[in-house]
């Protein structure tokens, strides 16, 4: 029973996990990186 529940769980779960990532998250990460870059302008660059 345990196995079958987990099987269903993984199917439902992977439905969402396999969806393409919405743009808002790539944009968010870009923004966070940009903010970090602005902040560390005074320190030596760590972005290669």
């Amino acid at each position: 029973m345990e196995q079958q529940i987990d099987e269903n769980l993984r199917r439902v779960y992977s439905d969402t996990a396999n969806e393409p990532l919405p743009d808002r998250f790539t944009k968010l990460l870009d923004q966070l990186r940009q903010k970090e870059r602005d902040k560390s302008d005074t320190s030596p660059e760590d972005d290669s």
């Binding site: 029973m1 529940i5 269903n8 769980l9 439902v12 992977s14 439905d15 968010l28 990460l29």
Partner: protein, 184 residues
């Protein structure tokens, strides 16, 4: 030091899983994505507290669940009957048997408590160890084990009670779950 992989670069790989976890907690894709966004921002400003080499996904999941419990759970209760609306949407008759079985399962899953859904995702779907899950949830390993067992049992019960009239249409896996309870 700069040659070491920056965990920030790996964050994006965990976003799909974070969305799935958030979805299982909130049952609403818009809220789930808001929750993930909040968790990502929080993680970003706390990356100095992440120990490189340890489980990044576990760390991110911990932040996500803490964000959920501190902000979203309350919000969700304040919204009138989000579960009822969701359950209504989810129980619409789909065309395929396989899909129906999935919505049955989702229906039942949505009726579990936050703690039960959480532990099933962490242990059942993500495959975290009981020890990791215990650390992430801030409770004892024994608590996680018994919570997992109770959640599985409850899930099987819910599917049996709620889907009596649809049993003939569910797929083999779901049938087996239901029969498993009967047999025990």
């Amino acid at each position: 030091m700069t040659s070491h992989t920056d965990p920030k670069d790996e964050l994006v790989e965990h976003l799909p899983a974070m969305r799935a976890f958030a979805m299982s907690l909130t049952h609403n894709s818009a809220t789930a994505d808001d929750l993930v966004q909040d968790a990502v921002v929080k993680a970003w400003s706390n990356f100095d507290k992440f120990t490189p080499g340890t489980n990044l996904r576990a760390w991110l999941f911990t932040i996500l669940r803490n964000t959920y419990y501190s902000l979203y759970r309350k919000r969700r209760r304040e919204v009138a009957d989000p579960d009822g609306t969701m359950a209504g949407q989810l129980s619409e008759k789909p065309e395929h048997d396989g899909h129906l079985a999935m919505t049955d399962f989702r229906d039942a899953f949505a009726q579990l408590t936050d703690e039960q859904r959480e532990v099933l995702v962490l242990v059942g779907a993500e495959g975290f160890s009981y020890e990791d899950a215990a650390e992430m949830c801030g409770c004892a390993v024994g608590t996680i084990k018994s919570r997992t067992n109770r959640a599985r049992k409850r899930l099987a019960e819910l599917m049996q009670i709620d889907d009596d009239d649809e049993l003939e249409m569910t797929d083999a896996a779901t049938m087996a779950v239901v029969q498993g309870t009967n047999a025990s």
